[in-house]
Structure formats: structure tokens, C-alpha cells
Amino acid sequence: MTRTQVQIIERILAAIPIMLGVVILAFLFMRMIPGDPVDIMMGEAGGVTHEEMASLRAQFDLDKSLPVQLVLYLGRLFKGDMGYSLQRARPVKEIILEAVPATVELALFSLLFALILGIPLGIASARYQNSIVDRIGMATSFLGISMPGFWLGIIGIIVFSLGLGWLPTSGRITYGMAPKSITGLMTLDALITANTGALKDALRYLALPAVTMGAGVAAVVARVTRSSMLEALKTDYVLFAKAKGVPDRTVTIKHALRNALIPTVTVVGLQVGTLLGGNMIVETIFGWPGLGRIVVDAIFSRDYPLVQAAVMVYALTFVVINLATDIFYTYLNPKMTL
């Protein structure tokens, strides 16, 4: 086993206690609700008998001591049981699994947008430091960092949907246009089934939410790429590559960017947290049928099992993505010790 492989395995092992901690915190979360959760959840329903309440409490293990509850909870979670949503009368796992593809698709597109915009902008700003491109690019990204997602989304709707009429205001695809569901990602399914109409339609629905969610990340990526590129372009190895007769463009991309991407990758990993947080807001604004909107709905309907499970899913995703970033990092930087 190489040193890199050992490092990766160590890193994975180190993530396990964190994940366990996340799960326990998510468990305690539901127990922190002031008062009796069943009371609160049933409060609005009315007409529930005491026997029914007691059986519900038993179902949530609320009649047992906290440690016992935790063990039972972990045991069920291990078997893939995430609880039961009373409001929707369905297992939480089903609800979440149904919503995940929409959220993943949106997150992927916003990340894609952030990288496609941020990295070239960062490179150009560094390559032509203090030029017009640099100044405008950096001013825009400063604005992007200070702009809350919900406002940007609303401006987008007012300008591009209501004003110009180019893009739809909400939803994921025009009714009846949906391609046959294979992966759950509309664009991918449309590609697989060669359904160009559906692909175009899905992309139109994706455009605004993806840009809204990715704008802040793009701004951060651009700024980090710029500063690390500026540093890389000043290094001896870049000068040496030029002295070897390597063309400028190759020097910038192959020699400078390759090293400058290392900090960018770390930042992108951390920015996924922002992306996941922004997800709830953007999905609410654009009526995107994903996990974020379900959580917000669940909070208002006091559907605690669902909220708890969703918060856990978000946090675990974040941990896994940061782990993946670290692993990718080792490949980018051979000298890196995790």
C-alpha cells in the first residue's frame, strides 16, 4: 500500500467519529424540543385520544430513558429506518430519497456554474492583473460575496421571468414534459432518452435557481483562484517552464494553474456548506421540489422526524464531501500529508 493510500484510509477512519457525532446531535435535536413533541405534533390535529398519544409516544420511544432511546435510534438507523412522518403518513426515508435527485441536480448545476465562471475569471484576473478584466471581475465577485441568495433569486425572477419572460418562475420542468425517470436527474434522463425537448425545458427551469445558488460560490472561487494564481505565476517553476520554451498558455494552465488549484479545491469543499445552506432558500424561492423545500415545509408543520433526518442528511453530505475534497487534494498535491 502506498503512503497516499494509507493517508486516505486514515482520513476515512477519522471521519467516522464525526459522522457518529452528527447522528447523535441530530438525535438530541429532537429531544431538545421544549415540551412533549407528540403533544406539539398532534396539537393541531385535535381529536386524538390519550391512548393514541401514548402509543405514539411508545412509537417514538419517548417512554424510555434517553440512552435507551439513542441505542434504539442508532439501531434503526443502521437498518436504514429513518423514522416515520406523521404529517405525510410515510416513512421519512422514502420522502427523502424521492427529493434527493432534484436537490443533487440543482447542487451539481450550481457548482458547475460556480466553477465554470469562477476559475476562468480568477485565472484571467491574475494573468492580467490590474487590467479592466481584473477590476471588473473582482468588483463583481466582491458584490457576489455580499449578496444574499434570496435577494438575488428574487431579482432574477423579476428581471428574467416576469420582465423579459425568458425563464420560468418556479418548478422543475413543464408539466407533461418530464422524461422517463431513470436516474431522477431530469437533464441526465433527458440525455439518456435522447429527449432534446425535455433537456432544453429542464435547463430553462434550472438556469435561475442554479445561478442564484452558485453565484456566491463563484465569487469565492474567483477570488481564491486569483490570489493563488498570482502567487503561482511568480514562482521559480513558472519562470523555469518559460525558460524551457513552453508556450505562455501552457505555462499558465499546466504549470501555474495545476498548483493554484490546490487552495481552490479546499475552498470549494468548504463552500459546499454554503451551497447546502443556500439550497433551502433557493428551493423555497423557485418552488424546486427538493430536500430543502421539504425541510422548510416540515419545520412549519412541526414534522420533527423529517426535519431531524434531513438535517442529518445535509450534515453527513457535507462531511462526505469534505472527505472527498481531502482525498482529491492528495492527488493534486503529491507532497501533501493529510
Binding site: 521559480d236 517553476y237 519562470l239 523555469f240 518559460k242 524551457k244 513552453v246 495545476r258 493534486l332 503529491p334
Partner: protein
């Protein structure tokens, strides 16, 4: 036949009146202020001087790699009779690494940390068309050719077991080995000139000698001309044929190395020699008083005058001309008028 003969007669490198400036917020730094020298085929020329005297800027000017916003203001750099300052960007790229290669001071920062050393060696060859680039490079035949070539170069510079080591990353090598790899890269396209910028400064003393020996072998075997920039007169004495002493962006004295070291003409060279210990002699070491002048704000006279023990009053006001003496020696000093 004639053309071949003619190019043999021409010196490989002829630099004249080269001036390089760097605009800074504090004013223009006159890093190189009109240097002239000629490098014959197979020569090893030492450029000697304290740090900040324009040695590295001179080398980068010759490669036309002065970083922005610095620029070459005037002068001429002739490589085998061809004026490099008139070359297009693309033509210049064809010269870099192919006809003139550079070796830098700190191999640790000069090798790209992200690529295997083998890859960094073959890159030179690919850029100059001596190996196929992507995508043809992926063909098995080309891969083997590339591997063989890299292996040969690593062996030439004395890297043990190159068949394993070409797959390693720079950080896995010691400083001396890294410098050998830099030399292998410089050597890859069999350049006519190697410009070495303090190639041994970052290395241990024992390793220094090995690296210098290697460069000397290359010089003898391939007739490669070498310009060695160094602040170490000992290194220059041991290894070079000719020496040019630089001070504040000018060459103040040049000639055959033995002449320059045994009978230095310029007070600066004399001062340099007095400030280094010599084996077998018990002379007192005398440092040169004062500091290197500010290159943004130079006096109209001799730039060394403020530190010179023998300066006349007019030395501060009148710039000394370059005086050509017999035996190919040149000196820039009023004392030798």
C-alpha cells in the same frame, strides 16, 4: 560549407550595450546598465558580483524573460550572429530551452512540485519537437522512445537507478539530485549555451563540487558554452575560463580568469579578493565598506566611487569609460586611464 564555417567563426553569444530597467513605485531600477561581453563556443564565463548587482537580471535579459513590468531598453543580444531582440515571441520560444537553457539557483522551487521529474524532463523535448507531444505521445512506440531518452539524460547527470526515479516527484530528491535534474532538463535539447544562475549556492559544499564537475563534463563532452553567475570567486576560479565582474548593473572588469584573479585592476575586484580567505595565506580579511548603491538613484560618476579607497574627487562626477587593455582585458575605472 561556407555558411557552416562562418557560423563557427561567430561567437555563440555577443551582448552589447544591454540595458534593462524595472519601473517601481520608488522610481526606475536600472538593473542592467549597458553590459558588453562575448561568449565563444566552449567557453565558460563567470559573472561575479555581490547580490543585487544585476547578474540575474542580465541572464534573464539574455533569455528575454524579464518579468513584467521590467523591460530591455536598448542593446543587442546576438546568438550565433542572429539578433535575439528582433525575434518574435514564437521564435524566442524556439530558442529558449533549445539553444539556450537555464539552470536556476534553488532547485527546490524551480522544479514544479506537481509533476514527476521524468515528465518535466520530457516536456522540454516535446516543446521543441524532439519527442512527440500529446496525443501521439500516448502511442506505445513514442512512450518507449520518451522513456529511453529520459533515462539517458538522468544517467548522464548521474542519477542512480533512473528507471525508478524518473517516476518520483521533486520533493523525493535531495537538493543535489534536484540540481542534477535541472541540469538534465537544461541539457535535454543539447543547447549551445547553458546559463546557470548561482547553481550551487543552495547546495552543501561537497555537493557543490559534484554539480560543478558535472557541468564541466558537459562543457567538455558537448562543447556547450556556459555562463555561470556566482558570487563565489572560488567557484569562478576553479571552473571558469573567463570572468566578468559586475557592479551596480555594469561589468567593471573582465578578462581571463587567471589574469583577473591574480592581478585585479578594478578596486572593486581587489576589494572582493581581499574579502575572501585564501588557503596558504594569512592575510587579514578586509570587507568592502559601505553598501551596494541604490539602483534607482545612481550618481553621474563611477558607481563604486563612494566605497572606493582610491577614488579621486572627479570619480564621483564623471563616469569612467570602458578601457580595453591588451590580452583581452577590459576595465571600467579612471585609475587605468
Amino acid at each position: 560549407m561556407d555558411a557552416v564555417k562562418k557560423s563557427e567563426e561567430l561567437p555563440v553569444l555577443q551582448v552589447s550595450g544591454l540595458k534593462t530597467e524595472f519601473p517601481t513605485p520608488r522610481g526606475i531600477v536600472h538593473a542592467v546598465r549597458g553590459i558588453d561581453f562575448t561568449l565563444e563556443k566552449g567557453d565558460i564565463l563567470a559573472i561575479v558580483g555581490e547580490s543585487g548587482c544585476g547578474k540575474s537580471a542580465s541572464l534573464l535579459s539574455i533569455m528575454r524573460l524579464i518579468p513584467h513590468p521590467g523591460r530591455i531598453v536598448e542593446g543587442s543580444i546576438k546568438f550565433e550572429g542572429k539578433e535575439l531582440l528582433r525575434f518574435s515571441k514564437a521564435e524566442m520560444r524556439g530558442v529558449r530551452g533549445k539553444d539556450m537553457a537555464m539552470v536556476f539557483q534553488d532547485p527546490m522551487t524551480t522544479l514544479n512540485p506537481a509533476y514527476r521529474v521524468g515528465e518535466q524532463i520530457s516536456e522540454s523535448l516535446q516543446v521543441h519537437g524532439l519527442l512527440s507531444g500529446f496525443p501521439k505521445r500516448l502511442l506505445r512506440r513514442e512512450r518507449e522512445k520518451e522513456r529511453a531518452k529520459v533515462m539517458e539524460l538522468l544517467r548522464q547527470v548521474g542519477i542512480p537507478s533512473p528507471e525508478h526515479r524518473h517516476l518520483e516527484y521533486p520533493y523525493q530528491f535531495s537538493g543535489g539530485m534536484q540540481q542534477r535534474i535541472l541540469i538534465a532538463i537544461a541539457l535535454a535539447c543539447r543547447p549551445k549555451i547553458i546559463l546557470a544562475d548561482e547553481p550551487t549556492t543552495a547546495l552543501d559544499v561537497t555537493v557543490q563540487a559534484q554539480v560543478l564537475d558535472l557541468m564541466q563534463e558537459i562543457n567538455e563532452e558537448f562543447g556547450t558554452s556556459i555562463i555561470l553567475v556566482t558570487h563565489d570567486l572560488g567557484v569562478a576560479a576553479e571552473f571558469c575560463d573567463k570572468a566578468a565582474v559586475m557592479y551596480a548593473g555594469q561589468i567593471v572588469e573582465s578578462g581571463n580568469i587567471e589574469d583577473v584573479l591574480s592581478s585585479p585592476l578594478h578596486p572593486y575586484t581587489q576589494g572582493l579578493l581581499r574579502s575572501i580567505p585564501q588557503i596558504g595565506q594569512r592575510n587579514e580579511l578586509i570587507p568592502i565598506e559601505g553598501d551596494v548603491p541604490d539602483l534607482t538613484d545612481l550618481s553621474p560618476g563611477c558607481s563604486f566611487a563612494p566605497r572606493c579607497r582610491d577614488a579621486y574627487s572627479y570619480c564621483n562626477n564623471i563616469e569612467p569609460p570602458l578601457i580595453v587593455l591588451d590580452n583581452g582585458r577590459e576595465v571600467r575605472c579612471h585609475l587605468h586611464m
